[in-house]
């Protein structure tokens, strides 16, 4: 039972990170119907940006306040990763509207290869470790010699995720950008007729997705303390699995899917075999796509001529 509780906490932490990335997939899919294959690599890039600012702040400027360092790194990573998200959409996806069906996906694969190798060229192929920012943990429950803990890291990750998701939900549900975004999702041409700047809305969607990926990247760096140029691929596919599982196009679905994938992965590693944890995620992806492509909360996809 204690073991289960501990794994549950670990799974939720991992799931928060997947959920944040999954939102980027699901929003982009909702609005322009493409799988943004490069999103995982944007996430990896953001972790690198966070890593470099973390080093600047701690080693060059000698800042010691953990909360301040974390906040500055988070904000800078979000801003600069958003710029990348915007630039990628502008260069690689926008010219392809109206091109043939698979063009955006192929272009996205190109961007994905470019980004991971770009980071490899400019930062080197080795793993980049950072010293842990916080080490302590809350003891939630103690039973004889087994202790269930919630580490400060995990608490920060869950709290940041919850806070940002609340802000994000407000943005999408209550602001004029959110209304425009949802309108474009329903019917892009109609939205354009009603005076919504569709191009700008799509750009902002990419910016927002990249910003949330940057949050995930910063939290990932905080949690694992190491990042390498090839770290975008597998979390990217898992987050995409989360988006599909939750129902692609649905924002709450992405978060729920992320949590479920995080929990499944953690329990699978804990109870079955850690070697096959990625196989589990890929299998879920295949099974969901084959048997219920609309996911938990998604709308069924109707094919029209």
């Amino acid at each position: 039972m204690e073991f289960f509780a501990q794994q549950f906490i670990n799974g939720l932490t991992l799931g928060s990170i997947y959920g944040l990335i999954a939102i980027g997939y699901t929003m982009v899919f909702g609005i322009i119907g493409m799988v943004n294959f490069a999103h995982g690599d944007v996430f990896m890039l953001s972790a690198f940006i966070a890593l470099i600012f973390f080093l600047i702040l701690t080693t060059w400027l000698g800042m010691t306040s953990v909360a301040l360092v974390f906040l500055i790194v988070l904000v800078l990573a979000m801003v600069l990763t958003s710029l990348w998200g915007w630039a990628v959409e502008r260069v690689a996806y926008r010219p392809l509207r109206g091109s043939f069906r698979l063009a955006p996906l192929i272009s996205a694969i190109g961007v994905s290869i470019f980004l991971s190798n770009f980071v490899q060229v400019v930062q080197g192929a080795r793993n980049k470790p950072v010293p842990p920012l916080v080490n302590d943990a809350f003891v939630l429950y103690r039973h004889e010699d087994y202790v269930v803990t919630l580490s400060y890291k995990q608490a920060i990750i869950m709290a940041t995720t919850a806070l940002l998701l609340a802000g994000f939900w407000y943005l999408v549900q209550k602001t004029s950008f959110g209304r425009a975004q949802r309108a474009c999702e329903q019917d892009r041409r109609m939205a354009a007729l009603l005076g919504i700047n569709v191009d700008r809305t799509i750009s902002l969607t990419f910016v927002l997705g990249a910003a949330l990926a940057a949050v995930a990247g910063t939290l990932y760096l905080l949690y694992y303390g190491v990042v390498s140029f090839s770290d975008g691929f597998v979390p990217g596919v898992k987050a995409f699995t989360a988006a599909v599982l939750g129902g692609i196009g649905s924002l709450p679905g992405a978060v729920i899917g992320g949590l479920i994938i995080g929990l499944i992965e953690t329990f699978w590693s804990a109870y079955f075999s850690i070697e096959y944890k990625d196989v589990a995620a890929f299998l879920i992806l295949i099974v969901v796509l084959i048997f219920k492509p609309s996911g938990i909360l998604g709308r069924p996809d109707v094919e029209k001529v």
Binding site: L51, V91, S99, L105, Q123, P131, S273, I286
Partner: protein, 446 residues
């Protein structure tokens, strides 16, 4: 681009100012993108920590390069929009005439490459590098042609193609080491196994829409690789399988002693005989792939593939069995990957899961995409450019003189692959070298 067209009317001065402003904006965005990922490099320092190094010089060069390129591009576009009326209408015909000559020329070079290389380098043993490079390129040409059936003809985006390549390689590796079967028995078996895997995967997934299909094939490819890594008893795990038997000349081994290839044909023993044989083997396999594809395009099935690529719903309403059509494309593509895989295993004498990661699938896909998705000669030229190009660049001394001693073009190879894929989709989605045309077209449609 619409901007430049209106600018042309407001006069040259305003136009120039707008172009410079636009280029400056691009440089500024580049600056933003370079912070901090280019401007600071992280290196492992003493102990466990990382050390930062500033690189603002490189950022300045990068921004200047983007500024210059954008300026040149805009000036070029502005110039072309003024001279658009003078466009040469006979250009496409000239291109197609040239591409009709490219194919026999390339084939001629391919057939005589070992002789040419031996003549150019002054001996068979000295030409080993060139023949090996030829084998490498032809392997990718064959894989590209195989994937072309799936992506280029049937329009199904397969991101896990390398899984079938792996099935072929491991089929030969296991059948030959465990059961002692010869290469010539294993080759068709490997193709069959790969095709069977293609059907196995294809059956459940083929009713998915395009991009979902792509993701599922990607997941499938990764599962195969992960299973090969973790199922140590079966596949040898991450260490792979080694000491796989070498190919023989239809039963005659390439050995120095009595009964070997050299002795049987009265030649002096030379280890290059085996390499040249492998070269012609992969050339033959690749040409078979090409021939089958070209013939298939004339069959009703091939026509159905192309129809499927253009419009699936129309196909279904015309009574084409889309499931069978997709399955055959998948199985046939997989079979050629299986052949190529068993060739890979017999050539290397060693297989490990690392040779079959997603990047390999992406490279093959990039070759097909750059070749123009459906064009056979395009794929061949793309494979030569993508695989042979970086290899040739590595030996150019002056690049080292310009970029420093540690410059290795192979580092930038995948970077350029990625960029090329994007550029291809943006500028020439129908192919760089040859146009992808349906094999048949009704009257004066369009």
């Amino acid at each position: 681009m619409a901007g430049t067209a209106t600018m042309a009317r407001t006069g040259a001065g305003g136009e120039a100012a707008a172009i410079v402003k636009d280029a400056l904006l691009h440089a500024l965005v580049t600056l933003g993108l370079s912070i901090p990922i280019v401007s600071y490099r992280t290196d492992a320092g003493q102990g466990t920590g990382l050390v930062l190094t500033s690189r603002w010089g490189e950022v300045a060069i990068l921004c200047a390069a983007v500024f210059g390129l954008r300026l040149a591009q805009q000036l070029f576009l502005a110039g072309r929009s003024r001279h658009r009326a003078k466009a040469d209408p006979s250009a496409p015909a000239a291109v197609s005439r040239a591409s009709a000559l490219i194919a026999p020329f390339t084939l001629g070079i391919a057939l005589t490459l070992p002789a040419l290389a031996a003549l150019a380098t002054g001996g068979l043993s000295e030409s080993r590098y060139w023949i090996d490079l030829g084998i490498l390129i032809l392997t990718y040409v064959m894989l590209g042609w195989g994937l072309n059936i799936v992506v280029g003809l049937a329009g199904l985006l397969d991101l896990g193609y390398v899984a079938f390549y792996a099935v072929g390689a491991y089929s030969y590796a296991l059948l030959s080491t465990v059961f002692g079967l010869s290469f010539w028995i294993c080759l068709p078996l490997a193709g069959l196994f790969a095709a069977a895997f293609g059907v196995l995967l294809g059956f459940p997934v083929l009713r998915l829409r395009g991009d979902y299909l792509a993701i599922v094939t990607l997941a499938f490819g990764e599962i195969i690789r992960l299973v090969l890594i973790n199922w140590v008893d079966f596949s040898g795990g991450a260490a792979g399988l080694s000491s796989i038997p070498r190919a023989s000349f239809f039963g005659i081994p390439f050995t120095a002693g009595e009964g070997g290839f050299a002795a049987t044909f009265g030649l002096d023993f030379n280890p290059m005989h085996r390499v040249v044989f492998l070269y012609y083997l992969i050339l033959a396999l690749a040409l078979i792939t090409n021939l089958v594809t070209l013939r298939m395009r004339r069959l009703p099935l091939g026509r159905a593939w192309e129809a499927l690529r253009e419009d699936e719903i129309a196909c279904r309403s015309l009574g084409i069995n889309t499931t069978m059509t997709k399955l055959t494309a998948f199985a046939l593509g997989a079979m050629f990957a299986g052949f190529a895989g068993s060739f890979f295993a017999v050539r290397q004498g060693f297989v490990s899961p690392e040779s079959f990661n997603f990047l390999e699938s992406a490279i093959i896909l990039a070759i097909v995409v750059l070749g123009g998705m459906g064009s056979q000669i395009g794929v061949a030229i793309a494979a030569i450019a993508m695989v042979g190009g970086p290899e040739l660049l590595r030996n150019l001394g002056f690049l080292k003189a310009v970029f420093g001693e540690h410059f290795d073009p192979n580092e930038y190879r995948l970077l350029l692959f990625g960029l090329a894929m994007v550029a291809m989709m943006v500028f020439r989605p129908r192919g760089l070298i040859a146009e992808r045309e349906p094999s048949v077209r009704l009257g004066a449609a369009r």
